[in-house]
Symmetry: C2
Subunit: 441 residues, 2 copies
């Protein structure tokens, strides 16, 4: 979609909390998710976030409040996952989101013509349980931050931090779909094989080097048929939207197991995502040029290169990681921010990830999830994992309350947040991607 | 289950083709699959193979022919995938298979009491389309053959063929579930980045080094909850059964992309499986000791070590790879066998794979698929991929008709077969896992 009037900061909603300063969910955002009212025997269904409320989309359909929405799109919002809506492709979803925007505007005729409508279509977030937004058939994790690749590569291969393929291949690997959990799910510290003394055999123990990785999650909308690559000019049409993703990692398990086939049990114990999917429509004002490659870097190969993508395939998203320890929670201290990254530092655009993924004919399906890879920038403060922030644990982070952290301890809560800002446009946010570590069995 | 009278070769069926010498599907096998009658508007449903027929399990339920089967198990055979039956665990499935065996025996009272029953419950295989037997939530590919790991490792890392973790860690990685296809699906030659001249940049082209990998597929039955490892003594109870698996691989794409996170597009374009799942019950007579580690090899770590698994966690399965080129097809020549492997050569048992996979708390779900990794033995004839058979293409295979192959060419058909034999017991087979290469787009 192009930028239009609905993106402007002046547009407001009759849902008053949408105008709360700092709200992640003004009327310009309207991210999709799946919710269930707590304490009721109702199946989960599709919702859209606004302020501190969830719009029950199926209820809006039942009240006849959405104009210009296909019957098909409306009906699919009764389902307990977004996959079927996602499969319809960008136009029906955009039309649905536009209709919801029209309904929620302060000057909405439908709102004023239907007294009591707020009570019938809104569910307060505190009364709802948020679910995984989609059945995730396959989850792929990329490695699109060159600073992260350099930082991590330097630890595992000091002489060879950035491999020769990095600037040509958007490196990725298959992740585990079954252990993806929604924000606020506790994460149990995994046990695994650890080999920390080269002269001794490995042993099994709870990981001592538990880490997070700050990533953007990219949900696929329409899929592609097996054998039919998605050209770069069509890639955006296959993206439904984005969320936050924490690729929890056990670094000691990882360093012992990862050769030659890549990370496995070091990451498959849990991956947390935020429950709201921010659409590309909502992100439109925050598009940015693709990473500007320094002189000497090769251009992307032709199948990954499109001038429009180079000009506006990036997204200016700020991403923060907060930590709250058990001690801080006990003392009722707020989480403190330990890093801030920026998605414009990524070497590859999300369109390039989709096109590369399908370039061999691999089929993506609606609801499939891509992780961007850890979002790290050039500054120490912008490193998106503890192993990078603490130089492999050698330089622990000092917390204001006197505690310090090399890696995560039991009771630590990692909270990721992200937002986009631009003068003249409403600030939009991603909500929280949060998880607390519970002790190993 | 223990060995019992039903495994003996003397037991025969009123389905005459079950007694055809060399049939993969005598009454002692009874593997599960999902089929649909061709040319009818019926949804797919669960079937069991016998001789050249498929038993329509739901039809048997409707006719009241199955005794000792739970209503739940029977009803789940009306579904278009086995996941729900798998979720019930080993006892209901064993009872169902036993009841089918009773019905199909030549001395079955039910058969003799119900004239015309064959017509109502059997579907000839040639009238049916076989589907993927389950919705595969996650697919994990292991690397359990030490000979394969040595052969491949020696090509990619001549000085370091077997990495130090191999004898401790059942190495595995996440594979792509969306591109798993049933036997007989054509496989399109993938395109990808190839970097065959170190002094030049990579380019994109159809792979020139297309290969197969002979593997056993292991379907998970009951799953485990996230955070709850499966102890080795319970691992078999989570295995529904086995099929054949061809892990198609593009070696040129693989060697350029696989560092540092493992194979990705080199394998995600297609994975073929045979449609019939041979149960552990049927494989019972062919159990064998686990791999006998030579002196100097470490014992498995305690979580992977159980004396019963060491004594009988192996399976004596012979696995053959056949090739038919376009020229052979044109001349109506039979496929020729190019390798024969044996599953007893695997360094890790399938129970060890399950236990290792879940040792960090990773959850397996009913219908998840594990690949064993390429099954190669110590002899050149037992190498389960062309790259091994031809020493990386340097020693092409000479075919009897004068053709030769370093890697697969368009029109080549790769056919995998497997069987178990033991005196006093009926030979059982796995059916075919077959796929033909079609040209790149």
């Amino acid at each position: 979609m192009a930028l239009n009037e609905t993106h402007r900061v002046e547009v407001t909603s009759w849902v008053e909390s949408a105008q709360t300063p700092g709200s992640d969910f003004p009327i310009q955002n309207l991210p999709f998710g799946v919710f269930r009212r707590t304490g009721r025997h109702e199946p989960p269904r599709v919702g859209v976030a606004i302020g501190d409320q969830i719009v029950d989309v199926a209820a809006c359909v039942d009240e006849g409040l959405l104009s210009g929405v296909s019957l098909e799109a409306g009906e699919r919002c009764r389902l307990p996952q977004l996959n079927d809506l996602m499969a319809l492709g960008p136009e029906p979803t955009s039309a649905l989101r536009r209709a919801l925007g029209d309904l929620l505007r302060v000057d909405s005729a439908a709102y004023h013509d239907h007294p009591g409508i707020a009570r019938r279509v809104l569910v307060p977030m505190y009364e709802a349980e948020l679910r995984l937004p989609a059945v995730i058939g396959d989850y792929t994790d990329f490695y699109a931050s060159i600073d992260h690749a350099r930082n991590i590569g330097g630890m595992f291969r000091p002489n060879d931090p950035l491999l020769p393929n990095y600037k040509y291949v958007p490196i990725g690997y298959h992740g585990r779909a079954s252990s993806i959990v929604p924000s606020d799910t506790h994460v149990r510290r995994p046990r695994g094989q650890i080999h920390d003394d080269p002269d001794e055999p490995p042993f099994t123990a709870p990981t001592k080097r538990l880490d997070y990785e700050l990533e953007l999650g990219i949900f696929i909308g329409t899929g592609n048929a097996l054998g039919s690559p998605v050209p770069i000019i069509d890639a955006d049409r296959h993206i439904f939207g984005c969320c936050l993703l924490n690729d929890w990692s056990a670094r000691d398990i990882q360093s012992w197991e990862y050769q030659p086939l890549g990370p496995f049990l070091a990451k498959s114990f849990a991956t947390t995502i935020s429950p709201w999917i921010v659409t590309l429509d909502a992100l439109e004002p925050f598009r940015a040029p693709a990473y500007v490659r320094p002189d000497g870097d090769p251009a992307p190969l032709p199948y990954l290169l499109w001038d429009v993508d180079q000009r506006r395939g990036g997204f200016d998203i700020r991403l923060d990681v907060y930590l709250r320890t058990a001690v801080m929670r006990q003392r009722r201290q707020d989480p403190i921010r330990i890093s801030r990254g920026r998605f414009t530092s990524m070497y590859w655009t999300i369109a390039q990830l989709v096109t590369h993924h399908t370039s061999n004919g691999c089929n993506l399906r609606p609801g499939d999830l891509l992780g961007s890879g850890t979002i790290s920038g050039p500054d120490p403060d912008s490193r998106g994992s503890l192993i990078e922030r603490t130089s492999r644990g050698r330089e622990p982070i000092r917390l204001p309350n006197g505690e310090s952290r090399s890696f995560l301890e039991d009771g630590d809560e990692v909270i990721m947040r992200a937002f986009c800002e631009r003068p003249g446009f409403a600030r939009i946010g991603f909500g929280e991607c949060s998880g607390m570590i519970v002790p190993a069995l």
